[in-house]
């Protein structure tokens, strides 16, 4: 039962991914002009004359004069073989540029998600069980502050505090000496030393949101008849709480993987700029501004794929957690 559900669900992602790739390619093509017009404009600004014939030649060479569907086909068939094309701006294969940044983005997103859960889960339960207590009010207030504060502002404040009071090196994800170094254990340790600042910054608002969600869900579940039944069995209050209402309040929690993932990656752009993180966000923005279509396309496609995979993971987790979904 569970297996057929998972297989079905995976099969469904295939047409979905196809649609996503089509839409992302169309989105990149949507702004008027192409990379060459932007290129020509940049050159013109700096006073250089551009030879129209040379532009035409380039356009033909890159295949930019061909119809949409042909361009799409060329691109997607390459992608399927692992070839994401060449970045116009960087004059390098796209795959060289993106993998490390994507990996760091995913790493950051996952850490933030874990951080969010670790904070939101116990606090959410606490503030539901001790509804309207002093503790609940304090947590709620902090939660609303976390929701209301923009991430970049928090980033600036934390950076200021870090530099001025602790003298810490707060920019980026690595210390100077490791920035260009190949991966090693020492580099991983260095990453762990740096990653907590962006994790805290990015995690604050989503934790605050999750605390509210957990609290509301649990409050709904706490008065359900099955809780009374469990109490009438003689279970202790804590065991009862964890086994029954919390278990049922978890569903929306798990669903958050689906939406938290893309939000963390795309929403992190401004924070990534402020903290100069070597993640995908800043590069994507730059690629979009320069109409560097293959680079931008690769990013968007990967982000969308991640979203789809996130949804898939959360659906499978939900099915594991809740038999009602499994058996539908």
């Amino acid at each position: 039962m569970l297996l057929t559900y998972i297989v079905k669900r995976i099969i469904w992602t295939i047409p979905f991914l196809f649609a996503v790739s089509l839409v992302s390619f169309a989105l990149i093509q949507a702004p008027p002009g192409d990379y060459l017009t932007t290129f020509a404009a940049t050159l013109a600004q700096s006073g250089d004359m551009v030879d129209e014939q040379r532009l035409e030649a380039l356009r033909t060479r890159y295949g930019l004069d061909q119809p949409f569907i042909v361009q799409y086909w060329k691109w997607i068939s390459g992608v399927l073989q692992g070839d994401f094309g060449i970045s116009f701006e960087w004059q390098q294969p796209v795959s060289h540029l993106i993998w490390e940044r994507m990996a760091l983005s995913v790493c950051l997103a996952l850490s933030t998600l874990l951080f969010t859960w670790a904070i939101a889960f116990p606090i959410g339960i606490y503030s539901a069980v001790r509804k309207y207590s002093i503790g609940d009010y304090i947590v709620t207030t902090i939660g609303f502050l976390g929701l209301a504060l923009p991430n970049f502002l928090l980033a600036l404040v934390l950076m200021y505090v870090g530099v001025v009071y602790f003298g810490a090196n707060v920019g980026g994800l690595f210390s100077q000496e490791y920035q260009m170094a190949p991966w090693s254990w020492a580099k991983v340790v260095d990453l762990l030393e740096h990653i907590w600042i962006p994790v805290v910054i990015l995690g604050t608002s989503s934790s605050a949101a999750l605390i509210r969600i957990m609290r509301a869900n649990l409050l709904d579940e706490l008065n359900k008849p099955y809780v009374t039944t469990a109490r009438a069995k003689g279970l202790s209050e804590f065991k009862l709480l964890i086994k029954y209402p919390v278990r049922l309040a978890l569903n929306p929690f798990v669903s958050t993987i689906g939406w938290a993932f893309p939000q963390l990656i795309s929403g992190a752009v401004i924070t990534a700029f402020v903290l100069s993180l070597p993640t995908a966000g800043p590069l994507l923005l730059q690629a979009l501004l320069a109409q560097d279509m293959y680079l931008a396309g690769a990013f968007i496609l990967l982000l969308c794929t991640l979203t789809v995979v996130g949804m898939l993971v959360s659906d499978i987790l939900l099915a594991l957690l809740d038999p009602r979904i499994r058996y539908q």
């Binding site: 008849p225 009374t228 469990a230 109490r231 069995k233 038999p323 009602r324």
Partner: protein, 591 residues
């Protein structure tokens, strides 16, 4: 008052002295509110005897559930026991060790280990709604095994074996596989059986059952009551059975406690309460039940003066299939025939009852008539006041709108069917406003008239639904239904959520409106007594088909179809001398 036959009843069973297992003395359970303490249970005393059943009877809000929960100290916060004693005489149970071992449960802390050791072990409880009272995400075996492992030091394997044995005791088929299944895979009756198995896990000496059969069909109810009785005989439990249904009380009770507004009104043996009730409230409760168990005199008088007219709705070969196929590769054959070739006619001024179990298609029929569902086949001819006949099954646009103005609905749940954010004037006036018939001062005047028709004061207009009791809310729902001067009203379980004493009032109101406005009713109910009171003819539905149609009295007194016989014999009679349910008919399709 229609008195019960003045014959002295014979004793129901030869009763030997039975040991008192649990005593409740002067119990007061209160909830602090802004206006001080609200006593949900106020000075209640009774005793439970081993092997005997005590029925606690009362209408909603009488405090019977809170009493039960007080015994286990599981009253919802912020309620708590303020006064009184709850003595559990353990030495008189099978668990006793001979010496005097009496615990005062009222003195124990609700979170203490002492009370937790008693919950589920000495005293077990089963609840009303078997769906929501069991966790949907844990298997049956997990939930039963949990109680066993909680109170006895046994291995998981042993607990599982015991769970299977318990499921077998409560007659769940193939208990070896059922133990690993989830509650939503069971029917309502099966869930309640699983719940009972769970409560019996540790051989309790007291079983508290809080309306355990209220959410079930009569046939399932009869089976569950039989099961509880059999288990009680086997285990010698004292049973405290909470219900509002006097029929059930008559069927199972040895002793009765009548409660009202948190106070104990009257207590005594079943014979004493049924045949020599002392208190007016007890008399009223019994009378309300008796009133319902026969045709309304008023309806019969009216029919004698004004015979029924020509058909106003004719349903021909109506079918409705629900497609249960889903998923990527649609498999064939998963079709639920909710309505299977139904033929019915409703005459002008007639009350047509539709009775059947849940899942029999009676609600689907009502919804098809209002085109909430589109039928899969067949016709529903509606003969309008202007002589035009419309087929409701296929009507569209203006034609459908016209039909919907003439056929209105009254819903079951008076709480859920009224928008809590709208006041009564808005609720009742909405159909008038939407169809552009009245607005402004004209609308208010019309709403006032409607409220007057259903017996509500005009000042009700400004208030919101939560300010009204269940019976009053149902009146609001009725006012809304008659706002557009319809000709046909479909009432889907319109009185099921109401207390017995209110049912007759609402039914009389509907009869009154029928007289004044010339209405015809399609009255959907699972409750035979209500149908008997209100309906001229009754159609019995079973698995999407109408198995029997006829004059209500004929069908009730001389049922022809096997299913009708089974249904009628499962209805508990409010007379303890006729405990007939256990020897009832059973009906299996195809048998």
């Amino acid at each position: 008052m229609a008195t019960v036959t003045p014959l002295r009843p014979k004793p129901l069973a030869q009763r030997a002295e039975a040991p008192v297992v649990l005593e409740v003395e002067g119990l007061v359970t209160a909830f602090p509110t802004r206006h001080g303490l609200f006593k949900a249970v106020d000075d209640v005393s009774f005793a439970l005897e081993a092997g005997r059943t005590l029925c606690v009877v009362g209408e909603s809000g009488s405090g019977k559930s809170v009493t039960a929960r007080s015994i286990l100290q599981i009253v919802d916060t912020p309620g708590r026991i303020v006064e009184g004693r709850i003595l559990l005489h353990r030495h008189r149970t099978s668990r006793g060790k001979g010496s005097d071992d009496t615990v005062d449960l009222a003195s124990l802390e609700p979170r203490s280990n002492a009370i937790r050791a008693i919950r589920g072990r000495d005293i077990a409880m089963i609840f009303q709604e078997p769906m929501s009272s069991l966790s949907p995400v844990h298997t049956i075996g997990n939930q039963i095994g949990e109680v066993i492992r909680l109170h006895e030091h046994v291995s998981k394997k042993a607990a599982r074996a015991r769970s299977i044995e318990l499921l077998r005791q409560v007659e769940i088929p193939t208990p070896e596989t059922a133990v690993d299944r989830y509650t939503f895979e069971f029917s309502g009756g099966m869930r309640q059986r699983a719940m009972i198995a769970m409560s019996l896990a540790c051989n309790p000496s007291v079983l508290i059952a809080d309306e355990p059969t209220t959410a079930l069909d009569v046939t399932t109810q009869a089976e569950i009551l039989g099961l509880i009785k059999r288990l009680q005989d086997d285990h010698g439990m004292a049973v405290m059975f909470i219900t509002h249904d006097m029929g059930v009380v008559a069927e199972i009770a040895d002793a009765i406690v009548v409660m009202r507004h948190g106070k104990l009104v009257e207590r005594g043996s079943v014979e004493k309460i049924f045949f020599e009730p002392q208190h007016d409230y007890t008399k009223m409760l019994l009378q309300a039940v008796l009133d319902l168990d026969r045709p309304s005199e008023r309806r019969l008088e009216r029919r004698a003066v004004q015979p029924l007219g020509p058909p106003v709705v004719e349903i021909r070969n109506l079918t409705k299939h629900f497609d249960l196929r889903h998923g990527l590769f649609k498999r064939k054959g998963h079709v639920l025939k909710a309505l299977d070739d139904v033929d019915l006619a409703l005459r002008m001024g007639e009350n047509l009852g539709i009775v059947g179990e849940s899942g029999s298609g009676k609600t689907t029929l009502g919804r098809c008539l209002l085109r909430v569902h589109d039928p899969s086949g067949g016709a529903m001819l509606y003969h309008g006041a202007n002589g035009v006949t419309a087929d409701v099954a296929t009507a569209k646009g203006a034609e459908l709108a016209a039909v919907r103005r003439d056929i209105r609905m009254i819903f079951q749940d008076p709480f859920a069917s009224l928008n809590p954010r709208m006041n009564v004037a808005q609720i009742v006036g909405e159909p008038l406003l939407v169809s552009g018939i009245a607005s402004g001062a004209d609308l208010r005047k019309r709403v006032g008239e409607l409220l007057d028709l259903v017996g509500l004061p005009a000042n009700a207009m400004e208030r919101y639904p939560h300010a009204f009791s269940g019976g009053q809310r149902q009146r609001i729902g009725i006012a809304r239904a008659i706002a557009l001067e319809p000709r046909v009203i479909v009432a889907d379980e319109a009185t099921s959520a109401l207390d017995v004493s209110l049912r007759t009032q609402v039914l009389d109101l509907l009869l009154d409106l029928q007289e004044r406005l010339g209405l015809s009713f399609i009255f959907i109910s699972h409750d035979i007594s209500v149908i008997r009171y209100f309906c001229d003819r009754v159609a019995v539905m079973y698995r999407g088909q109408v198995v029997e149609v006829g004059e209500t009295e004929d069908v009730c007194n001389d049922p022809q179809h096997g299913y009708t016989k089974a249904l009628l014999s499962a209805v508990p009679h409010p007379d303890p001398r006729h405990r007939g349910m256990l020897g009832r008919h059973r009906y299996q399709a195809g048998a």
